[in-house]
């Protein structure tokens, strides 16, 4: 494996040095897209409002709008105005292998950029930044994480929140019972049915669950964020040419201010399918990310 890494490094450096001379020579994903005339975008089915299906089963969302900016850039770069776009549904378990084996060219959903995943795939510059917080009933008396001592807390299986809360429980010996539900909807159901006093998750997703509640007014998002996480689009590892097109497209969207329109469309206006408004104002962290884009994970910053 180390040999492969070294090979990729050497190849990357080589490619960079030789770039001007071989700019016409396509490799990797760009060559695949050119040859097949199609770009395949991986999307999610229920990551509201990032990437999900509308009433006509079409993938929509904030991340999908960014993916479309990428598609435009690829069309321009390859001089292929007729480039076809194909959508491929992924789940949290299939998204990495499907990118790696070439089924999906780029996945834009709500995927956190972290060190473990960087061993398997490359990330674009960050497209969103969240904090991990708590959703609880206003009457629960929970104001922050220390209040959870000895209580039942729910989080969604396979998320960073699950790892953080379990680590916190072990380190601070808080005696919490942690439930790992299979998706955000079920996590919220655990909190709503009284099985757990609080639901720990990415703040933006908590807002998403809150507006779907029977009575949104009785819920509150609270607690000091335990971590910040940057979402990114995933691509195959070691493909600098494609990554550059993707990164440049996203950076251009940030620079032109178009990102503000996209943000407003998904986070501060009513969105399908139920026409609910998340009313999630842009955080200082995201403003910072848009000002100086990076493909590093939050833990590397």
């Amino acid at each position: 494996m180390r040999f492969t890494t070294r090979l990729i490094c050497t190849a990357t450096v080589g490619a960079l040095l030789a770039a001007p001379a071989m700019s016409a020579e396509l490799t990797g994903t760009l060559k695949k897209i050119k040859d097949s005339g199609t770009i395949v975008i991986g999307h999610r089915d229920a990551s509201i409002p990032f990437s999900y299906l509308d009433n006509n089963q079409q993938p929509i969302g904030y991340s999908m709008d960014i993916a479309h900016k990428v598609v435009e850039a690829v069309k321009k770069d390859l001089k292929m105005p007729g480039l076809k776009v194909q959508y491929n549904l992924v789940t949290s378990q299939t998204r990495i292998p499907l990118v790696q084996n070439g089924t999906v060219d780029i996945e834009c959903g709500s995927t956190t950029n972290n060190l473990e995943r960087q061993k398997q795939v490359d990330f674009s510059v960050g497209i969103f930044e969240i904090g991990t917080r708590l959703l609880t009933k206003k009457t629960s008396g929970i104001k922050d994480f220390p209040d959870l001592k000895g209580k039942n807390v729910v989080t969604t299986a396979g998320t960073t929140s699950e790892r953080l809360i379990k680590a916190m429980n072990a380190e601070k010996q808080m005696g919490m019972n942690i439930i790992s539900a299979k998706d955000h909807g079920e996590s919220f159901l655990m909190a709503e049915s009284g099985r757990a006093v609080a639901f720990m998750m990415d703040d933006v997703l908590l807002y998403g669950e809150m507006v779907k509640a029977r009575n949104p007014a009785e819920w509150v998002v609270t607690g000091k964020p335990q971590s910040f996480e940057i979402y990114g689009c995933m691509m195959r590892k070691g493909d600098p040419a494609f990554k550059k097109v993707v990164d440049d497209a996203i950076k251009a969207t940030y620079k032109s201010g178009e990102i503000n329109k996209i943000y407003a469309k998904w986070f501060t206006s009513p969105v399908p399918p139920k026409n609910l408004n998340l009313n999630f104002q842009m955080s200082d962290e995201l403003k910072g990310l848009i000002k100086s884009p990076t493909d590093k994970s939050a833990e590397q910053m």
Binding site: Q100, G158, K182
Partner: protein
């Protein structure tokens, strides 16, 4: 395929306390076995009772057993699990609800739900096998026992069931293995059994293929051992002269 294999991942720290990923698999296997065995006890007892009921001349008894089988065999297992976990507790009296949802640890309440669910689901299948086992016996066995002056209960206890159970050991073995495999539905209500731990390892480490490969091997070895064990049981219980078992 552009995949970064790392078989050492199982010995790496999970980032939670001093645990390594292998610990998760061991604890997951423990839960899988605990769920399957408890469910199997319910299935075997209830399934045998229902199976006997289906072969009784009494119309009410066989009607009840038939209805049970139709209900539990025709509703998907996952739907049944959600009913036991989300719906049934809400129908309990207030006190019992609070006890089930808040006083019990989440792992215990999930465990109870899944054991009841798998036990009742598998009981329907065991019932059918017991019934076919009894029906496979020549009618003369029943009549001969009656002629000897046995009561109905005695006929079942001393004549029909000892033979029927020996006949159905092979299909029962396959139900026994099924309950181990079906126990993976528990992962969907947050019980950290083998499949849930596998998914968690895959998510945390991003080494998805290694995690699922190990889970495959564990399930395979577990089921192979159970099959061997049941084969041994079958040989031990064989009656010379029955079913080609003359030795």
């Amino acid at each position: 395929m552009n995949y970064n294999w790392d078989w050492n991942v199982f010995f790496k720290s999970t980032g939670i306390g001093t645990e390594i990923y292998l610990d998760w698999f061991i604890s997951g296997l423990g839960w899988t076995i605990a769920v399957a065995l408890a469910g199997w006890i319910i299935a075997l007892i209830l399934g045998s009772v229902l199976g006997v009921m289906r072969t009784l001349p009494n119309k009410t008894a066989s009607g009840i057993a038939t209805a049970y089988v139709e209900l539990f065999r025709n509703v998907p297992l996952l739907v049944q699990l959600f009913v036991w976990y989300f719906l049934v507790p809400d129908l309990l009296p207030e006190r019992a609800q609070i006890w089930f949802k808040q006083d019990l640890s989440p792992a215990t309440s999930a465990y109870l739900s899944v054991v009841v669910c798998l036990g009742l689901f598998t009981a329907a299948r065991v019932c059918e096998q017991v019934r076919t086992g009894v029906q496979a016996l020549p009618k003369g066995q029943n009549y001969a026992a009656m002629a000897m002056g046995f009561q109905q209960a005695q006929i079942y206890r001393y004549v029909l069931l000892p033979q029927a159970f020996r006949i159905i050991i092979p299909p029962l073995t396959s139900e026994f293995l099924n309950i181990f495999k079906n126990s993976s539905v528990a992962s969907l209500i947050g019980l950290m059994e083998l499949l849930a731990q596998t998914k968690q390892t895959a998510e945390f480490s991003a080494n998805l293929f290694e995690a699922f490969t190990l889970a495959t091997v564990i399930y395979f070895v577990l089921n192979m051992s159970l099959m061997k064990f049941m084969g041994w049981v079958e040989t031990r219980l064989r009656v010379p002269g029955m079913m080609g078992g003359a030795k």
